[in-house]
Each structure stands twice: as structure tokens, then as C-alpha cells.
Assembly symmetry: C2
Homo-oligomer: 766 residues x 2
């Protein structure tokens, strides 16, 4: 059943694709519907949204099919049949829902101020729609709202959403503004609610207002300034069930408005909405700076042009589907982190004061547990200026908060997930020599983040026990192995800065993973503070967030996490043969259906590509002398667990990480340790890839005989010279290397298998 549906959706996705994109450029390969809806209840949506955004923008304007979005967290599910409206802020690929600010919906007929229920036609202002009358491309989204005969088109700049609604003839046309959207049914977690809101009718073409709310982001203040191309004739403002006509202002907590128009057939009404996290005044300023006029097509074209520039940083060739997946992946990777500062640099800092960023940008949406793995390493190559800006934004959290972000949304810490993976991100950038980072200040922030106890990071306990006891802090195994990795990163930076005592201290801590390795079972296992192993132990038992030693994973999936010292992990597991055999078991041990949940999907045995703990594991065969198995499984994931349909990802896209895995792996290499300058070689599937580097050079990959069947490397040349190593280094890339692969259907077991071919634990020359 699942396969049949999958095929159907792939076709549908391709169909849409053909309708909405023109050939001749890279944005034609972006299909914003990829990742917008899983095809059955046993798989996961990527939780991506189809609406327009410019790269790394504040405003991300997209249709919502759900009024109180929870899962998928993007608000849009490709399987839904109705659209409730178009809201201006979205998260792309997360597992938690938030944002969805300032929803607009054009309607005709009786004024309905209630959104209505999904799938219940006529129950509110929502409308049915069909994918046949819907299209999307970078900088543009369009849908026919069937209940009203209104064609809605969307585009945006960084801080402004622009709507173009084509109405039928009507003496009762309306544009609904809903400031209660996403919170009508309060989500049970995060104590979500609206603290205050306002809608003000400034004049008959201007609406201003705000909503202040607490949710996954502790406090968000969303101010807006909206202008209409045509004067409305009257208004209805409502707070909950109370409504008033033609009043100048309304304050409350559940605010909605209807702006009424008379329209001729095919009359277009445009609306532009600027947002600010600081004030209405700043929202006005943002509109003035970015979208003073009304030229929808020009704005859309500018957005597309920005995307073309960004996507052009890697030029690839391959099959159409590969290019669609690849460029949509880059598009998703550049959808965040988001600049949450106004055009004048004002932003809400993590202490909830108003800061001003000297470079007029403050980036947030740091899903670091996901993105430190491949997204941030990717940014260092093709977004080096942004990388510095991201890191400087993170350091501003340190200034007001005392430590670096764990999961930062809207400039504010929400402590989602574990570890302190801003540390590898910053370490990697500094080791790679990214300019624009104050290294001493960065180290100060990193050291504070590795020593100051904070939620999920009990360093006093860490130093006392040499591991995290499960009876003190749950998720103890995951925290222990990941914290040890972060400590290794601190140590490398300390070493670079000549801080020997720090280096030694953090290197010692970086080996603490050993204290949870149980040689009797061959797994990292939880211990209590008395030192005893937590029982009963079943390596298949799956944990969520809290209440289990493993974070969104099981012992099998966390058995492989020592990226800072894979040789020692191999040694712990009894050597190369034993290690590889265990990997074989891992990739073949059938999962129990009971263990599958929202974060575990995309299975190959116990390998779950749908969530991040598995992401590096296929590459580990390289370290044990069996690189052909890395090639096999990496190719299998690339070819089978990504596609160009709405269910194109096997789990949450996770703010660019799932895509960045593809970006690296499709080019043939992957940062198993995201901060040591080494990239393990897998199985490239593209014909060709050229990455434009910040030093003016290019790094290119060519692949001969590429096909799903030809997943095995036959031979490799680096800069024209035969190359046997199962890895490349940062220097190989930055020197403008050219990597030529020849692929085949049978493993070449003599390639990459010598001891010297194994990826080392350090890729730099010093």
C-alpha cells in the first residue's frame, strides 16, 4: 500500500514541477512541495513549507492547511484538502510547531471570522483547493481557492510578504486578518498563549497591529504594518466571539478582522505586510526599505534572482530527479538560519531586551543538534560570510545568556535536544579560517558553554562522575557521548590558542564516553550515580526526549557516536572485523514496528535515516577497511530515502540537515567529524558537481558510470593523480581540488582499504 501511494505522489510532484518551473536556470530544479507531506501514517513529513521566502529571511509566507498546526510543524500538509490562509512566518523541517504569524485569507460571501475545521467544507473561512490548481517555485506560490473562486499568489522580501488576490465579481469580497491563528486550540506543551494583540485601522488602505505571545519561543513580539492596493469599504474587528463594525482599533488576545471590498471580475487586490520583532515603527521602516512599490512580478523576480545566485554556488549535473532533490535541498538549507533583525539592525536579544546588531543582521533558528553535523560544515564552504554572521549572532546569546545556543528560535533559547553543538560549529569555522570571528571571544563563549551548568548540561556532574548518571539526568548516554565530542572540539580550539591546561582538561573529558561502554553487551549503556548499569537493557528499546538514556534513538543507533576517536570505538568493539560485522548487523537487524515513532523512520535495519543520530553511521565502514559497504549504504540512502515528491524526506528535514547530508553525500564525501577537517568518501551519485569556494577557487567532482546499480567506487583521481584514500581533507577542497570517480556495479575491495587509506582523526597540517 505504501509503495503504491508513494509512486502516485512522486508522479504528482513531478506533474506540479513541470507546471511551475521554466528551464534554463537552477531555480527550475527547486520543487518547494518536496517535504510538505508524508504519504501514509507510517512515514514522516519533512515538515517543509511550500510558500515563498528569500534566502535566510525573516518573513516566510506560506499557506497553512491547519489552523492550530502541530504535526507537520510547517502548518502545511500535502494530504490536506483545504487551506486556512497564508501566514508570514514558518519553520522549515522542525519537529515542533511555532510561529505562523499574521494570517491573511481572501474570501467572498458572508463574513466568516472563524477558520473552520480541516476537511469540513464551509465551516469557516477556509477554502478547498487542489494541487492541480496550485504551483510553487522560489519566490512564488499560487493557489486557486475553490470555494471563493479567488486565485491567490504570494511572494516576499526579507521582511515583507506580498499577496496578490484575483477576485471574481463580488459585492461582498473580504480579506480576513487572523492574529489568533495557530493558537485557537492551545497546544498542550510550552504553555502557548497570546499575551496581547492589537489590530488598528490606520486608514482605509492601512492596517497595523501586533501579537505578543509565549510558546516554544519564550516570548515573541510580532508587529506588523499592512497596506492594501485598494481601499476597503468597511471593516469588522473581532476579539473572540465579539465583533464590532468600523471601529478604529481593537485590543485583545484572540483578534480577527474582515476588510470588505466590492470587486469586479478578475480584479486584483494586492496586500503587502511587513513584520518586525521590535515595533510597528520598525515594520513600517522594513516595508519602506524593501517593498515601497506594488510590482508583484518584479518582487517575485528579485526573489528568484536571489535564489539563483545562492543555488549557483554549487553547480551539478545528474538526472532530473537528482537535480530536483539536490537544489531543493540547498533551497531548504538556505531557508534558515533566519535573520530576525529589522533593516536597522534592531532585534530581540535572548534576555528579551532590544539589541542592535552592528552588521544589521541577527540570525536565529539554530537547530544545532541537527545542523552541526552537515548543514553548518556546508555553510562554511558556500556561505562563509553568513557562517561568521551566524556565529557572531550565537556569541551575542553568550553575552546576554552566559552560554551559546542549544536550540535558538527568534533569538531566544528553548533548550530543545541535547549537547552544546554551537561548539563544533564555531570550532569548525575557526579551524577553517572563516574570517570575521573574534577568536578569543569565541573561545571565551565556548569555554563558558562547556563549564557552566545549564539545562541538559550538568557539567559539575560530568566532571564528578566522568559520565552523566541516568538517575541524575535522563538521556544520559546520548548526552555523555555527545558532550565528550563537544569537549574534544573545545580541546582543539584550546590547543590552537596555546591553552595547554584547557586542552588537557577537555581532552580528558572527551574520553568520558568510554565510561559508559559496557564490554559485556558491546553497547554504550546508562549507569546510575552508584556506577551500576541501568537494567533491564534492551538495545532495541527506543527513547524519546527524556525518560530514556537515548535521545530519539536506541542503543543500536547510539553505539556509533565517537566521531572524535573512531579508532578507539573500533578498538572497544574488538577491532575492524568485529566492528564491521556489528555494522552489518546494525544495517540488517529488522526493526520492531513498536519501536517506530515520529522521529524514527527511513529504516535500513536499525539505521534510521529519518533522524540525525544515524547520519554518519554508513560512513564508518571506511574507518574499518570496508569502504565498499559505506558506498553501498550511502548510495542506498541517496537513491531510496530521498525523492522529489511531497514525501521526499524520510523524516523532518530539520532546518537543512537532512538536505545537507544529501548535498555532501551526492558529491561523494561527508564530515563524519564535523570539525576535524576530514571528509569520508562515500558513493557520489551525481555526474558532476562544481563547488564555488570563497577563496575564488572551485572544487569539482566528476563521476563516470554513475547509476544506482553502479554504487561502488572502482577508482578515484585527485587532481589527475590516482587516489586511494577513503577521505579527503579540508585542504584538498580549499586548494581547488578535482576529484574524479569511476563507478561500477561490483565492489573494488582493494580501494581505500589499506591502513593509510582510513580517514584520520585530524585533517589539518598542524
Amino acid at each position: 500500500m505504501r509503495k503504491i501511494l508513494l509512486t502516485a505522489f512522486v508522479l504528482s510532484g513531478q506533474l506540479l514541477f513541470a507546471q511551475t518551473n521554466k528551464p534554463g536556470n537552477l531555480i527550475q530544479y527547486v520543487n518547494p512541495f518536496i517535504g510538505t507531506g508524508a504519504v501514509d501514517t507510517n512515514s514522516l513529513s519533512g515538515s517543509n513549507f511550500p510558500g515563498p521566502t528569500t534566502p535566510f529571511a525573516f518573513v516566510q509566507l506560506s499557506p497553512d492547511t491547519r489552523d492550530a498546526p502541530d504535526d507537520p510543524a510547517s502548518g502545511y500538509d500535502y494530504n490536506d484538502k483545504t487551506i486556512v490562509g497564508f501566514s508570514h512566518t514558518h519553520l522549515s523541517g522542525t519537529g515542533v510547531a511555532d510561529l505562523f504569524d499574521v494570517l491573511l485569507m481572501p474570501t467572498t460571501g458572508a463574513v466568516k471570522l472563524d477558520p473552520g475545521k480541516v476537511e469540513v467544507k464551509g465551516s469557516g473561512y477556509r477554502s478547498t483547493f487542489s494541487h492541480q490548481q496550485e504551483s510553487a517555485k522560489p519566490g512564488y506560490y499560487q493557489v486557486m481557492l475553490k470555494d471563493y473562486g479567488i486565485n491567490a499568489e504570494l511572494t516576499s522580501t526579507s521582511h515583507v510578504g506580498l499577496h496578490r488576490y484575483t477576485f471574481p465579481k463580488s459585492d461582498s469580497a473580504h480579506i480576513i486578518i487572523d492574529l489568533n491563528h495557530s493558537l485557537d486550540k492551545k497546544r498542550s506543551y510550552w504553555q502557548c498563549h497570546i499575551i496581547g494583540a492589537e489590530i488598528r485601522v490606520v486608514n482605509n488602505t492601512t492596517i497595523e497591529g501586533y501579537r505578543i505571545l509565549t510558546g516554544w519561543a519564550k516570548l515573541r513580539k510580532v508587529y506588523f504594518h499592512a497596506e492594501f492596493s485598494k481601499p476597503f469599504t468597511s471593516t469588522v474587528l473581532a476579539n473572540g466571539r465579539r465583533s464590532v463594525e468600523n471601529m478604529p482599533i481593537i485590543n485583545g488576545t484572540s483578534l480577527r478582522a474582515a476588510l470588505n471590498f466590492n470587486t469586479t471580475d478578475n480584479e486584483q487586490i494586492l496586500v503587502k505586510v511587513a513584520l518586525s520583532p521590535v515595533s510597528i515603527q520598525n515594520a513600517r521602516l522594513n516595508m519602506q526599505a524593501e517593498l515601497a512599490g506594488w510590482d508583484f512580478d518584479q518582487v517575485s523576480k528579485q526573489s528568484a534572482s536571489q535564489w539563483e545566485t545562492e543555488l549557483g554556488k554549487i553547480k551539478v549535473d545528474g538526472t532530473l530527479q537528482q537535480k530536483q532533490i539536490f537544489y531543493t535541498g540547498l533551497y531548504h538549507a538556505f531557508t534558515q538560519p533566519n535573520n530576525v533583525a529589522d533593516v536597522n539592525g534592531d532585534y530581540q536579544a535572548s534576555d528579551l531586551t532590544i539589541g542592535n546588531a552592528p552588521d544589521k543582521a541577527h540570525y536565529s533558528t539554530f537547530s544545532l543538534w541537527d545542523t552541526y553535523r552537515a548543514a553548518h560544515p556546508l555553510y562554511t564552504f558556500i556561505q562563509p560570510e553568513k557562517t561568521a554572521a551566524f556565529i557572531n549572532s550565537m556569541i551575542r546569546q553568550y553575552d546576554t545568556y552566559g552560554y551559546l545556543p542549544i536550540w535558538q528560535l527568534w533569538g531566544d533559547e528553548n533548550y530543545c535536544m541535547i549537547g552544546n553543538h554551537a561548539i563544533p560549529v564555531i570550532t569548525d569555522a575557526i579551524l577553517k579560517g572563516i574570517p570575521g570571528i573574534n577568536i578569543d571571544k569565541a573561545y571565551e563563549a565556548i569555554k563558558a558553554s562547556a563549564t557552566t551548568d545549564h539545562p541538559g548540561s550538568p557539567f559539575t556532574t560530568w566532571e564528578k562522575y566522568g559520565y552523566i548518571p541516568e538517575d541524575i539526568e535522563s538521556q544520559s548516554v546520548s548526552i555523555t557521548v555527545e558532550m565528550a565530542y563537544d569537549d574534544w572540539c573545545v580541546a582543539q580550539l584550546a590547543k590552537k590558542l596555546g591553552k595547554t591546561a584547557d586542552y588537557e582538561h577537555f581532552m580528558k573529558r572527551s574520553a568520558f564516553y568510554k565510561n559508559l561502554y559496557n564490554p559485556k553487551t558491546g553497547f554504550f549503556q546508562a549507569r546510575n550515580k552508584d556506577g551500576k548499569w541501568v537494567t533491564p537493557f534492551n538495545p532495541l528499546d527506543y527513547g524519546g526526549n527524556g525518560g530514556s538514556p537515548y535521545t530519539e534513538a536506541n542503543a543500536w543507533q547510539y553505539a556509533w557516536y565517537v566521531p572524535q576517536n573512531v579508532p578507539d570505538l573500533i578498538k572497544l568493539m574488538g577491532g575492524n572485523q568485529s566492528f564491521s560485522a556489528k555494522l552489518d548487523t546494525f544495517f540488517s537487524l529488522a526493526n520492531k514496528p513498536g519501536d517506530v515513532n515520529g522521529n524514527a523512520s527511513g529504516f535500513i535495519g536499525q539505521y534510521a535515516h529519518g533522524n540525525e543520530p544515524s547520519h554518519h553511521i554508513a560512513y564508518l565502514y571506511d574507518y574499518a577497511g570496508q569502504p565498499w559497504k559505506t558506498q553501498f549504504y550511502v548510495a542506498k540512502v541517496l537513491n531510496e530515502l530521498y525523492n522529489n515528491s511531497s514525501s521526499g524526506y524520510q523524516g523532518n528535514e530539520d532546518c537543512g540537515q537532512m538536505s545537507s547530508w544529501y548535498t555532501f553525500s551526492a558529491m561523494g564525501f561527508y564530515p563524519v567529524n564535523p570539525a576535524n577537517g576530514v571528509y569520508a568518501i562515500g558513493s557520489p551519485i551525481l555526474k558532476n558537481a562544481v563547488m564555488q569556494l570563497s577563496n575564488g577557487k572551485t572544487f569539482s567532482v566528476t563521476v563516470k558510470n554513475s547509476s544506482p546499480a553502479n554504487c561502488y567506487i572502482q577508482s578515484v583521481k585527485l587532481n589527475g593523480v590516482a587516489y586511494h584514500k577513503a577521505y579527503i581533507t579540508q585542504l584538498d577542497i580549499m586548494n581547488g581540488g578535482k576529484l574524479d570517480f569511476v563507478m561500477g556495479a561490483k565492489p573494488n575491495k582493494s580501494w581505500g582499504t589499506k591502513p593509510d587509506d582510513v580517514p584520520p582523526m585530524w585533517g589539518y597540517t598542524n
Copy 2:
């Protein structure tokens, strides 16, 4: 039982008084314990706090006996036996609890970070205390914390609290900082909770941090900077049940800290804590500006000196108890509105942005349903500059919010109670010629507040029906009669500004009270939107806030509210005789115990001095030719329903209103209509009163034969000339009038009884 207890407390109050004040000035008459605790469960506390504040200050530092204060809302109940600590912000006299920010508590022995339960000794860091070892006067509070042998003294400036703790010898002395105080047990209403908080150890004498919370005030951000006169040796920081030692910072939602010291016997440690509603930087600035040094006695002396200046604006003579009640009343009236701006003028506006006040002050805590009656009229005489500043602050709410405050706390609207009584406040000030108000802007704000539908004020409904239908909006009778009064005020200002159409429109609305008068019952009664009276009707039925046509009152108490047109009310009720007879019944009809609740107390028949709807009623006999009955009941209230004990008020003091009723009435006159420039004459009880006016003149009152028995006016002279009128006007006062009363034990029924003697509905010459 109640009487016995009452006596005991009066004595106790006097005892304390004698201990804590020196003769020779006016502040000696202030007993900050008045209103801090009711003596039995059938009466109400004034909800005042005993700790130090400067006039109209931001920081109001006071002991809390409750950890999660609810009722009394001041956090301190004179009946309690333990103190949990000293927090820096308080409300004085309100019926709802909020604020209580940044609690400090000195302790010795084991570190206890939990506040412990009231009355349960040793259950937390709280300590027992006794009133024998406690004292308070303006600018100073002191208590011996018996469990620890620590003498705690407090004083303050406008933005800074200064603590002086005298420790015993101890190698485990502590100062606890509790940012979770007041919210440990969440109050069920207002969705109170802490959104975020931080404690940062800047160095071993400096702590900084904040708590951001939602509560009665929608969003409060409380930043602090604290300095200690002695370095602490170590720290414990805790978030909920997790604590860490000697960490530089902690973030969370339930934060507490223990700062540890070694002390010698009688060693004093001083702590100064500056607050800001905007940022830690501003908190530092506030301290720098106001309290750079460490001279506790000097700070206390300066505070006392400020109070001496403010209290000196009215000089009175009378019995010791009268002077104590009078000056403590003035002290309470000047405890708020509070300047919620930092010294640089930054404040949080009602749209939750940061504003900057040009005059470096932004006032809030506007309990207008209470204070428009007598407190604001009083301010116009003796705080004219502040009156303009209050009004300019209210108009700033109009700018960001669209209408004037109803109940404003911390710069933000909370919609508590009914009406739009900023309108009479501003109207009164403008009619009195208070300088510093932009009259056109003020009228714009007033008109918007009288026409823009908002919670509790459905003006569309008002204009459609000519009354508020109970089936549309509860509390409909109270809203109707009070809205009609506010409309009368708008009309007067419109007339002054020559806006004839507005004048006529609002005058028409000001008569809408008639539409709810039921001639069959003789009461204002609720009607539904179909025009039918709501049944069953029992004039004794008491309503709270919502669910009843009457707001914290019954039909008897709301039968008398037409301050803009008392003659018409008299006419509705059948003329002077019938009106007076009905008043007689009102003052003698025994209350049913079931009708008594938290807001109904201080009964004389159905008259309940404990809440504001009754406040003008005793003066109404003046309007019907029986002024001796006004004299009788006013004197009765002055003599019997106020005293100088902890239960000195018969209900919530209500941000100065209960006190201001006393201030006016004790001098012999009262603004029945707070905006028409007319003051009805009652029964002066002081020997002498001299009010210093802003125009350099004085208005004085002398009273011959004053005593509780001699409650009746025998004769009056105004400026030496025999005076028969039962009222004086604004002009009489501002011209520097001298009013001389001769009192006696029997009514002089020929004084003030002629038609011309009756207080008119307009006191100005134009």
C-alpha cells in the same frame, strides 16, 4: 469578639507608633502598619504594605509574609507570624495581587532555598518575627528575624532598595535571592507564570539578573542590579530543585540563589538592589543616579524628608488618632501612581515596546474606578504637576492602545473594573486649568475612549439601545450609570472646546441612566436587549465582577449613582422627601450576612464604605434639603470606619481612594461629582486644616467644638462671612478661602436647607 480584637489592635498600632516615630514633624503621624491586616475574617485588610517607599516610586520595598500572595494583595498580613523576605515591588490597597519582584532574605545555618510554609517554623528560609521587634516609618522599616537573630532594616530611593542586615557571628550566613517569589503556587487567574529568568554572578559583590513574567500585568520584565557591601565567599544557584555551586550564571523559570558569608557578631551587610523595567544596563544607571554610596541612614533620612515635603501640603490639627489616620492616608494616596520609567525616561509602553518619556517619568498603577472619585481630585490641589504627568502618561496609552486606561499596571492595561474613568480625571484637571496638558490631544483621547468599543465598553451597543443590555454585557446597570457619567464629562469638555455637536451627542448619552430606572421598584435595574426587565429582582442581591448587573454591589448601592444630575435622580425617585426617606432606609436596612463578601464591608445599613460605589452617597442628603443627615453619616464613617490600627480601613484602601475620602471629608467637603467643580459639605472632624495650593494661596478650614458627638454644623463662615450653602466651589478654594465651622450635638435644620443652598451641578462660572 470582633470589638475586643479591634481594641487590642488599636493599642498595638499605637504602641508601635510610639516606638518608631519622633515628634516634631508630620511624618511622625504616619503609621505604615495602618491597613496591613484585618482583625477577623469578617472584615477586610486595607491591603497596604508597611515597607519603605519614596512618593510615587518604582521600588517599594516591603516584607512579605506570604510566598504566593493573593489576599491581602500587599503580600503582608499583620496577623501572620512569619516573614518570608523582602521584595522590591508592591501594590498598595488593591484587591488583586501582583508584582513582589526580587525577594531577598538573610538567613544563617543550613542553606534553605525553599521559602517554606506560612506558620510552619523551620520549613524553609522564612523566619518568625513579632510586632514587638518590628517598626516602620516613612523611609524606614525594621524587623528582627527571630529564627536567625538577624535584624533587617530597609530603606529605598525611587528605583533602588537598600537593605541593612545585622548578623550574629556565623560561619554560615546567607542572603537568599528568590526570583520565583510570588509564583511558586501559581494563582489560578491571569495565567500567571514566569516566562524567563536569570541570575548572574558578576563578581563577588555584584549580582545581576531578571525575571520576565505574565500575570495581572500582561508582561512584566524586571531587570535588577544588586551590590553587596561585603564579598560573598561562595554561591548556590538553583533552578527549581536543581542547584549548582559557584557557577557564574543560571537561567530558568524558578530561580533562587544563596550567597554565603562568614560574619562576626553584629556585623552589618548592606545590599542595594536597583530595578528597571527595560534592561540590566538601565538598572545599573538607576543605581548610579540615585544610590551610588552606602549611607543607609542618609538614604532613609532623604526618603523621610521627601515625605515631610509631600505631607506638608496639608497641615492639620486634631486628635492624635485623627492626625495618624489623616497623614497615613496622605502617605497611602502618594504611594501611587508609580513612576515606572527609568531615570533616563525609558519605560515599557502599553504595546510592550520600549518608550522614552520626555519628562523622564511615566506613571502607572491607575486604579481609576476607585481613584477618579476623590484621589485624583485631591491630586489636582496638592499634586498639580504630578496630575499633569499622570494625564500625559495616560495619553501615552491612548497613543499606543487607542483609548485611555481603565486599570493600568506597569504601563499596561488590565481592564479591571468598569467605566472609562480616566475621562473624569482628565476633564476635571482641564476644567481646573492644570497646566502641562495638551487639551486638544486630551480631548481626542477622551473622545476615542468614549466611542471605540473595547472590553467592558460596548459603545455600539450603548448607542443602539440607550443602555447596556444585561444579555449582551454583564454588570450592565453599573456600566450604564457610570458610562452616562463619563459621557457627561466628555460633553463638558466638548462644550469648553466649542464642539457643539459632540456636546449634544454626549449630553444625550449622559441621560441614558434613565433607561434603566424602573419606576415600579424605584431602582436602576437590568434590562435585556428585548427591553424587558431581568427577573427575578432583589435589590439586596450582591454581584461581584461579572454575572450580575451590579459591579461589586447591589441595586441599593447603585441606586444613587447619577452624580451629573442629582436633581433628576431625586425627581425620578419622587422628590426630596421620598428621596431622603429612601436614603434613610438605605442607611438602616440591615444587610444580610450572605451578601457580605470580600468587597462589601464597613456597613451602615446597605451603605458599604468598604467599597467605592457607596463613597458619595452620604453626601446626597445635601441635595435634598437634609444636610444634617449628610453630617451625621459622614461623621459616623469618619469616626467609626477608620482607625489607626492594622485594620484601619474597612476594605481595600484602593490605591489612595479610601484615604482620599477621609482627607476631603475630614476637612468638611467632598467632590460628589469629581469633575464639576462643586464640593458638597459634610462634617469636618479636624480642628484645623490648611491646604497649600499651587497658586501660592492657601485654603483653610477651622472647626469649633469638634468632637464625635458634635457632628452637626451649627454655622459656617466663608472668608469671615456667614455661609449657608451646603457646598463650596473650586473657585472658593482656589481663591484661598477660609471656611470656619461651628459644630454642635444637635442638627441645625435651617442651615443649608434652602433651595439655593443645594449643591449645583456646575461649579464654574462659564
